[in-house]
Symmetry: D2
């Protein structure tokens, strides 16, 4: 079983009727519901939980974390963000969705501002597959059609991704690297742009397929202590002498 | 002085009045004319020249080659394509424009089919800068506006570029990695998508700026024999023993 | 079942007693023997087979090809090398071993000379793991010890690998990127340096583990026609109009 | 003029006679002395200066920072490390030397633990050039010979570098990615491994050549505010509508 933890700041859904209408139980529960299946088990956590619902013990039991946040990034304590960064480096997979590009854990893992250009608009978006052979793009045709999505634009100040899997194009003209893979330490990270809270993006089957594919791709193959990610069963902690 | 060789198959301009109206002396002479300046000297060569106007001696005296081809890729002899590949590996810079994605030298350097999706359309294109700090994007605002351009679409079957500098978005919906850098051996390669023969793309100042920037960026820093690119002033061709 | 084709030029083993003593049935059969297991089935082919034992039909039924060659690279017809390149681009995995860095298919896929520095020596080698989290390095401690191996040295004129998994260090002082991953089209390529014909390298359990891991990692996830690697179930071959 | 700031924690040189004998005025002054020339001007700063000698104003006037630290990484305030990270993202170049792999600014920029294996030894090291065409390796033969250097070993838990320029091999058997390039935001970063305080490494001409080359390569081409690295002269901060 792949053990997923869906983290959602869960603020918009409580305060805006329009968002609540789309995600009555919160974005986290929508994601949890479509992910649960024979090989995936899901827990959720939110900003208002104690310590954001995140401890080292919980992350040790998590194969892939999914993170959604937008208006309350600053309310996540630095210590919680560092726990997530450290767990990824030790081997936990991480999916950062939409506005989580500005979340503390993502920025800690990237080392860059992760800024972008944005517009709230009525744009439609085509999210194009750039690598049709990758496990994360399987089951997706040439593009995912999103009737409405918040417009994101380049430049996106991230390190050069290990691989760009999707590029989005908006009816307003902008383009965006919408699906990016990064490795940090032993862990794999996938940034996926679709998912503004005002639109029912996570109810779209192709979006669900990509997230499910990503969970399976990111599930850790190997996990080791962050402080000594290199020490395996080698004898001498000071190294090796021939 | 940076020594540039502009190569153009020079077929459309001879046979189609509409193309001849845009580039009366051929695409190669338009490019040569806007490039010539205090630090850049330019020669041209075309398909109908003897041996395509390319010999090892000519390439040895070329710092950056610019390649435009479309309908006659197959008429370029394999030996000529191999000469270009070898010169790049020894340190010559190379700019492949538009439909040169399917030219023999580019495909030899990439090792992939370099296929893409395309449509002849009346699309407009915005060519977005993804790295505003790179020397090749200097002088360009957030995007270059092309009133009309042939539509290219992903997936573009190239190896993972060392760096994507531009992503194009078309009014018809497609997106494309329009500016890509690759290193092969000692040489740097820049693929740049704008430039369908039916549109006056190479008369647009921003397009000229990008090509001029690229010439200066790609001009070789170091040049060595392709067969032994690693041998510098080291003594023993069999290697080194400590 | 993963379908593997082990290709070996099979020349040294016929002409040199010292090599025959190490690999009495040829390097290909040694590799085939240790690979065969519940999820891997293996065929072999050699230079002296008709058309090198390679046709499009055979490659279509191959998930991963393993290539060993040294003294007879030039005897492989260009058409055979192109078949291998095209199959990799369509999605077949490929493992190039040791002196196959100079084989025709590898050079076609890389686009570079793939040269290196070498010495025949009595060097020992430590092949160090640089990414302990990767599926290909699982089961390997910090380094593989090779009592004797031909010395390879940098610079190795390959494109920037997608990932370096192993770096070798020799008792004579040289270092070498001994395990490199590349994607070309839909296919994954792994270059692995150990395996000079004069030493019993392929009898070493850790070397066998790496090759077995690589077979499982490279087995194709998706396979499509080389000429149109981007066309999946999309309708219009001319592209898509929104 | 390229404006360089050499930062050194400057602790070993005050407390250990053996180190003081090698660098009587501190490592920073040795580096400053060999760097100063017609196109490079140099200032220095150390841990014991007020605020470590680092303010936003000073960094705004710095093209390339060079960082050496070892025993006192933790004494650098988090705010100072964040200033350096932000300046790099806005376009400042940064060279991290030797044990600065564990410095706070480097770790912030990488997002990984940046751990490695190490031994204090009497090892000699050969630092091999892996890309002889790169500006940073010009003037260096196939390898730099270091009679004595602290032994560093893989795995080095850094993100996949944009380019590996040097790989070190030690007489004790270890190998290490000794010269690595990374881009973060608008800034370029070079990690260079030689330079243990107990050995006169920075007195070796080839080591000085590499650092001087790196200063010239990293000097910023473009500089912009970290919070909006994408905003150039575009009009609307909310983005662009076609």
């Amino acid at each position: 079983m792949i053990r997923v933890l869906v983290w959602n700041e869960f603020q918009h859904e409580k305060t805006k009727d329009a968002v609540k209408a789309i995600y009555p139980n919160g974005i986290h529960n929508t994601i949890a519901d479509f992910l649960r299946c024979d090989d995936i088990e899901v827990r959720t956590a939110t900003l208002d939980d104690e310590n954001c619902g995140i401890t080292k013990e919980i992350l040790d039991e998590t194969d892939v974390i999914i993170w959604w946040g937008h208006m309350a990034h600053k309310k996540v304590p630095d210590e919680v963000a560092a726990l997530v960064r450290d767990a990824v480096n030790s081997g936990m997979g991480a999916i950062f969705l939409h506005s989580a590009h500005h979340s503390k854990p993502f920025k800690l893992l990237m080392g860059t501002p992760c800024s972008l250009t944005w517009r709230e608009s009525s744009d439609s978006e085509l999210v194009w597959v750039t690598d049709p052979s990758h496990p994360i793009t399987q089951g997706i045709d040439r593009a995912i059609e999103l009737p409405h999505e918040e417009t994101y634009g380049e430049p996106f100040s991230i390190p050069n991704p290990d691989k760009v899997l999707f590029i989005g194009g908006y009816s307003g003209g902008e383009v965006f690297r919408s699906g990016c893979l990064f490795q940090r330490g032993n862990g794999q990270i996938f940034y996926f742009q679709p998912g503004h809270e005002s639109f029912p993006t996570y109810h779209i089957p192709e979006v669900q397929t990509v997230i499910r594919n990503a969970v399976r791709f990111l599930a850790p193959r190997y996990r080791a202590d962050i402080l000594c990610p290199h020490v395996r069963k080698w004898g001498d902690p000071q190294g090796y002498v021939r």
